[in-house]
Symmetry: C2
Subunit: 205 residues, 2 copies
């Protein structure tokens, strides 16, 4: 359950790894300076010295390039969460660590590098497939932790599993979704503790 998935979208056109990497790196640089929303594929082409048509051989749209950058961030975040929870001794502790790690990873990645924030915002607004996959992965992790805690007798078993998992996901969502997290940064660390406590009380058998 702790293996972080890759959210990299399907490739298009010639699978020339180096060219793709070159485009993504240049785009990351360009987006950081001028913002994702304001940058066009033409701007990127000019900056890299490629033709627009050549870029379109590798990526179907600007969003497809943004998706690769976004996917990289999300994979890093899920790896951090996976590592944080891997050796938790109980399901309760796993849930606590998961919440804390999500808040930390989100704050670190998106807000220590404010310049990439508008890619995150665009991705969450869409929502882009990478973000949907990320949210599904978090829901899946929550479900696995609940099942583990039910099996070990730590958690109650009366409430339907999906109802419990969805409700817990809703509690975590404001600290996972960057559009929401930006308005909660100053209280996020305390919220992770307080809300974990509330969620664990709700799971008591």
């Amino acid at each position: 359950m702790n293996k972080a998935p890759s959210f990299v979208p399907q490739e298009r056109g010639p699978s020339d790894h180096d060219v793709r990497t070159q485009i993504v790196e240049a785009a990351t640089e360009h987006f950081s300076h001028f913002g994702y929303e304001k940058t066009t594929v033409s701007d990127l082409a000019k900056a890299i010295g490629f033709s627009k048509a050549y870029i379109y051989k590798f990526f179907g749209s600007k969003q497809a390039i943004g998706e690769v950058i976004c996917s990289g961030c999300l994979t890093t975040m899920m790896t951090a969460v996976g590592e944080a929870i891997s050796d938790a001794p109980t399901a309760s502790e796993r849930l606590r660590r998961m919440f804390r790690a999500l808040v930390k990873a989100g704050s670190d990645l998106f807000f220590h590098d404010r310049k990439l924030y508008d890619i995150a915002a665009a991705a969450a607004s869409g929502p882009w497939p990478s973000v949907q996959a990320y949210e599904e992965h978090i829901k899946q992790l929550i479900t696995e932790i609940i099942v583990e805690g039910r099996d070990s007798g730590e958690f109650e078993r009366k409430t339907p599993l999906d109802e419990t998992a969805n409700a817990i996901y809703l509690v975590m969502r404001p600290y996972v979704n960057p559009l929401l997290l930006q308005h909660s940064l100053d209280l996020a660390a305390e919220a992770a503790t307080r809300l974990s406590g509330l969620v664990l009380r709700s799971l008591a058998p």
Copy 2:
């Protein structure tokens, strides 16, 4: 406990009710068209036909005018919440109705009239005193409901009262704060139900 408080800030200068009302009405109209952020007190003065100095006799700043508009909205919202919970038969039901009414009042007031949204956003970003008073009032309502439920034996009494109240406030916050609610409108109604369920499970004795 169900009396909605008034969040109207202190008046300044001559307490000529009609002139104040006239300024607030003109400002509401002006903000609706041009946005709160983009409007200056000079713009307002020109639009109403008053001198800037005359407006400053009644309001110390643009924010002071915005506060009156914002306070009016918040008072309406708290009245709606107060009415929704007044005849609830149990503390559990009162909590459920409070959550539902907060979501409904927030959605109705701020999002059916999108034009006034940027006052709400400015007020929540500040946060303005009216918003802080509103949040305190909600925390107070939550505390009263918990005490009621503890007294009647519906809720557990082990967790410190303020810890329980703060955690429940954090669960509700994304649906109360307009900066957050704007990103949760499509799932707000279902969230109110699901999260009330989770919170009530966490309160079980």
